[in-house]
Symmetry: C2
Subunit: 227 residues, 2 copies
């Protein structure tokens, strides 16, 4: 039915996506699927972001955990995903380390590559929001500008910033993998909190100090911001 | 409850992910969240790939459309997503052009960047499979090695290759955006089918010629391979 009808070979998300394009001229489009760059007169023919979210009976968003190594980001993120799952929510957890082994395996830990790392995680998180999921990200993401860039990728109420404000002393004392020790000894460089800066969020949606708050309680606080 | 118990700060997916790591020594781990690199003794504390798939009552996979520009990849992919959605399946459609505007906006159309483009799309598709979704990809993906690399990212039965074998003449005649015309005139370079090669799949799971088959029929054929 769609086969020979160009008007039908369109759908809302593609149209929304295409509208962000800067144009189709010149070399830059060589080899792209231009049959995907379509008009907006057949929005009802395909599955939209709203359809996907409605199917899952939830409001998709990014819950972004930022903070020092050892501040409890992953622990809290895991507990949060578990709770949301028990509530019947459709979630996905993106861990910074995980992506370093796949999508971002080509990146180092220089400031430039950290920025690119966060940009890619943000773009992927945006795709998951488009897919209708509640996506949880656990990433040191030390630089304010990088976090702001991700926030700007989605709608205002689709980005929840959770700042793990656990004191450096506590994080360093936990030192699960002995990385702080190595950083202090000069064996590794560019380690956030030691010889690389962490820029605190100015207006985070949630602030958590995992040295004083129980995880269950912090999870409650994050959930209260999204439901 | 998870707060001060390192053993509890673990979950299956993280563990699976971490097992693929090549190790944690030296500079390369500076600044990572090493509290995420955990043991496997608390698998039941978090949400796994199986949990996410089971919640959606489906078997996640990648349905990968490859073929020339104008061969009907996107049209078929859209119709397929619509049908799967009507069946209650949880899907996401990744279009090559879409990602060129976001995640892959830093890439050109050289052979090297095309390979990187496909690598990233493959890694993202893998994340969606991990999230329990049926992910549909529409991407020219002209090189065999690149498609094989993606296939190898997931389990054998999680990658369905759909080859849009529509004759070049038909694709060129459709020429929705006039790109073939431009390529023939030498105005754009590296255009697949004109001055850049397309390597046909040797053993695709489904072969479709959109110049002879109706979209509804081709969608049936793809669906029969995954349900």
């Amino acid at each position: 039915m769609f086969q020979n009808d160009k008007k039908s070979s369109t759908f809302r998300t593609i149209t929304e996506r295409t509208s962000a394009s800067s144009g189709c001229g010149g070399k830059e489009v060589a080899g792209t699927d231009m049959n995907a760059a379509v008009t907006s007169d057949a929005k009802d023919t395909a599955v939209s972001k709203d359809d996907r979210a409605q199917q899952k009976q939830q409001k998709p968003c990014i819950i972004w955990f930022t903070g020092l190594s050892g501040s409890g980001k992953t622990t809290t993120a895991i507990a949060l995903e578990k709770r949301l799952n028990a509530m019947g929510k459709h979630t996905y957890l993106i861990d910074g380390d995980h992506l370093r082994q796949g999508l971002n395996s080509d990146l180092s830990f220089t400031d430039e590559d950290r920025t690119e790392n966060i940009r890619r995680v943000g773009e992927v998180a945006k795709l998951f929001v488009d897919a209708g999921l509640i996506v949880i990200v656990a990433l040191i993401s030390p630089f304010k500008a990088d976090r702001l860039a991700v926030r700007n990728l989605v709608k205002k109420d689709e980005f929840i910033e959770v700042y793990m404000n656990t004191p450096l002393e506590v994080c360093e004392q936990r030192d699960v993998k002995g990385l702080y020790k190595k950083a202090r000894a000069g064996e590794i460089q560019n380690f956030t909190g030691v010889d690389s800066r962490y820029e605190k969020p100015e207006q985070p949606d949630v602030v958590i100090d995992s040295s004083t708050a129980m995880t269950a309680e912090t999870v409650d606080r994050v959930i209260s911001t999204i439901v």
